[in-house]
Subunit: 318 residues, 3 copies
């Protein structure tokens, strides 16, 4: 695009000033000139993986069943190519002195991508369990198709399960880019490091946070706004955050946690078959088979004419 004649000089100055700011030391400059992963390509990988995991639900054309193998092969080769290169770039990112993807990172990328692809049948089994859990857990669900097409909880869990496998394989950076893509699309923030058992269902989902070191059993159900978070961040002798230890709770099998509940702390265990009611606030363990609900907040009520007159005034001081 041509800059209009009368602002060419000003734009040139602006460009110089910006280029100069790239010379200064800044944490923002770490990416400059090195091959880094690309969010656009990560999105393509996820689209292709979804087409492989539940064929027939994406794209706008019909694919007759007899052509399905051919179409699957295309998606698999695409995922292999893109995933290999993005994993290689993620490994490169851990060698800060290296300014290109070297042979070692390249072949590690290919190896890791193949390892992930070999897990697809197992991932499909896990997702079939999650799908059944969604259907069994929500009376508004009319069909499996509706859940695959439209449930944010199902999408977030599918992307998490792929990202978690890459995380387990030791791939840096990329798994988090994947789950944060899911966060953008669904409002559900699951760290790829969390460990989550079979038949997991999140309904509605906006605002859910599942922290890095959570351990979640089988048949667990969460509703919107649930936080499984950290209670405090220990520091080392120099006052720097300690990274990597267990900071988030353990949720045992068959637990249901209702909307807006908060469960905090690495030593907090929610026992099997427990029910945690909406808005509950837990920083300590509860035993199995426990049902815990809040005593509703004390309300102040004012009624009659008086209120009618006040009806557009919000006054929490009454």
């Amino acid at each position: 695009m041509e800059a209009p004649e009368n602002h060419r000089a000003e734009l040139s100055e602006v460009i110089d000033a910006i280029a100069q700011s790239y010379e200064a030391s800044s944490p923002l400059n770490s990416g400059g000139g090195f091959p880094l992963p690309s969010r656009e390509i990560v999105k393509k990988i996820i689209d292709d993986l979804e087409a492989i995991l539940y064929p027939g639900y994406s794209g706008s054309e019909d694919v007759p069943t007899e052509y399905r193998r051919y179409r699957t092969a295309e998606h698999v080769v695409d995922v292999f190519e893109h995933l290999s290169s993005q994993i290689a770039r993620s490994f490169r990112h851990e060698c800060p002195g290296v300014h290109k993807v070297c042979d070692d990172c390249h072949s590690r990328g290919q190896k890791q991508a193949l390892t992930l692809l070999r897990k697809i049948p197992k991932l499909r089994e896990a997702l079939a369990g999650d799908l059944q859990a969604a259907y069994d857990g929500d009376p508004a669900a009319k069909s499996f198709d509706e859940i695959i097409f439209s449930y944010p909880g199902f999408k977030a869990v599918a992307i998490y399960r792929v990202a978690h496998e890459l995380h387990r394989q030791g791939v840096p950076l990329l798994p988090r880019i994947m789950t944060e893509y899911a966060h953008t699309v669904t409002g559900i923030d699951i760290h790829p490091g969390a460990k989550i058992g079979r038949s997991f269902f999140i309904d509605h989902g906006t605002g859910v946070v599942v922290g890095e070191t959570c351990v979640i059993g089988e048949n667990v159900k969460l509703y919107q706004g649930v936080t499984l978070g950290a209670l405090s961040f220990p520091k080392d002798a120099k006052g720097r955050l300690l990274r990597g230890h267990k900071r988030h709770p353990t949720i045992e099998d068959n637990v249901t946690i209702y909307s807006g509940a908060t469960v905090l702390g690495g030593n907090t265990v929610i026992g099997a078959h427990a029910i945690v009611g909406g808005n509950v606030w837990l920083t300590e363990s509860i035993p199995p088979n426990t049902q815990i609900v809040i005593e509703p907040p004390r309300h102040k009520v004012r009624s009659g004419r008086e209120v009618s007159a006040l009806r557009y005034v919000v006054d929490y001081e009454i």
Copy 2:
């Protein structure tokens, strides 16, 4: 894309294993080979409908008023074509033995699409009311244009109103795909089955959930994080969820519900002109003209030097 020579055999194995997993019985396989709706085309339909409902706000070119009829005609024909085919596919989805869209589904699709298009002038009247309600309800709103361009609450309600009409017409699947698209973009989750009166406004909106069987009157205002949800899920004699009965609350005319409030249960009625304060938790009805706020949670406060030293330690156990 060509797979690199040295991994062709491995990829071939991977593709075989995945194709084999498609043969097994799995709820994930329901979509294979059948014509299903497409999320991409649903997005196009919504874009075109928005261009029809409030002309001039979408797209990047100017359209002089004199050409507007021509442009509208293009959008209407596009919506007709796409909506007909997506509705037909949604009907096909309810005939599980049928592997293509038959003549009956095809002509039902066209009929239903026309029915929806005939409602556009009425939908525009409803949206004009919602727009005025947003302007009247938010001191941060500077103009109608700002609301149409940028308010997630307005967008979510517009898409809901279209989806609700399709739901009323008996179209399966598609309405939910539409409202979940809105959920993705806005963080606001309104089930297309909910009944919502005129002049409805949701401010900020992230985390709002409006359940399938809600009934909401006129001039109702919700803030972010409000849940209008279910209290319990009755089951049939075999322990399966009962689907379809009223599980969500009724909100009468002129009610305002502030951020983070939760109202649960199919028998819960919030009377006309009531004000429900932030974080209120209601599982029972309140009469008209009532103002209900929480008594703020009891706080524990620690102050002075001591805290200053502790200031990066989160300790809920004090």
Copy 3:
């Protein structure tokens, strides 16, 4: 697209009815035929600005460092062109009688776009501080790159800082379109009018609302679901909302506010170094160095066999 023969007459009627509805007076019609900003182009501007602010993180190709100046120049010229035209259209929007962008708006657009571009080095300094704050504040963060690539809080703050500068320059409409784009992508809703100091970090972020007249100091950290909102909306003698006065709280330096906390009111001040615990509800000021947490809500607990039998029944009435 050709309408099928047998529905041409019906579609023609539909188009006439819609065109007729455009003639009526409606707040939805304000956009018709006038040059308005375009959300698509605003998205392009933000993409280009991100490529300028932290080079190397967007796009899918490698750009060797030696070509970076050339690539930056392209992005800067693109931003200048698009931003000039969108600002001009935003000014036009304030001259309701004018049906095209006149010379005055056009040259104001160019001037304002240059002013913004000249601030890029300063904006980069501010974002470097925000990036460091994110790294220091989250033990799950493994590198700066991970934060730039994937943290919604960082993205929302970056877009806010650009939008806030345009807001300060007096550009109408456009800043809000920018921050609501960020809201869509991140679930974080920061009004461009808010004033926010250096080293600001929002973790997880879904559901955060920062109102128009907030004043936030340096080194402030917020978690998901925090509302910094208004307490009441004063009206003028005619009952219309008063717009523009301070309705939202002041948060002083070094404050941390945990998930789900609500702080309301234009006179509410959270003193420096205060810690506001999760789910706290504040409508009054607290002094510096205060630590305030909720006394956890009283819980009702039911345990043992009884619950096991009840485990799928949600019953808040126990």
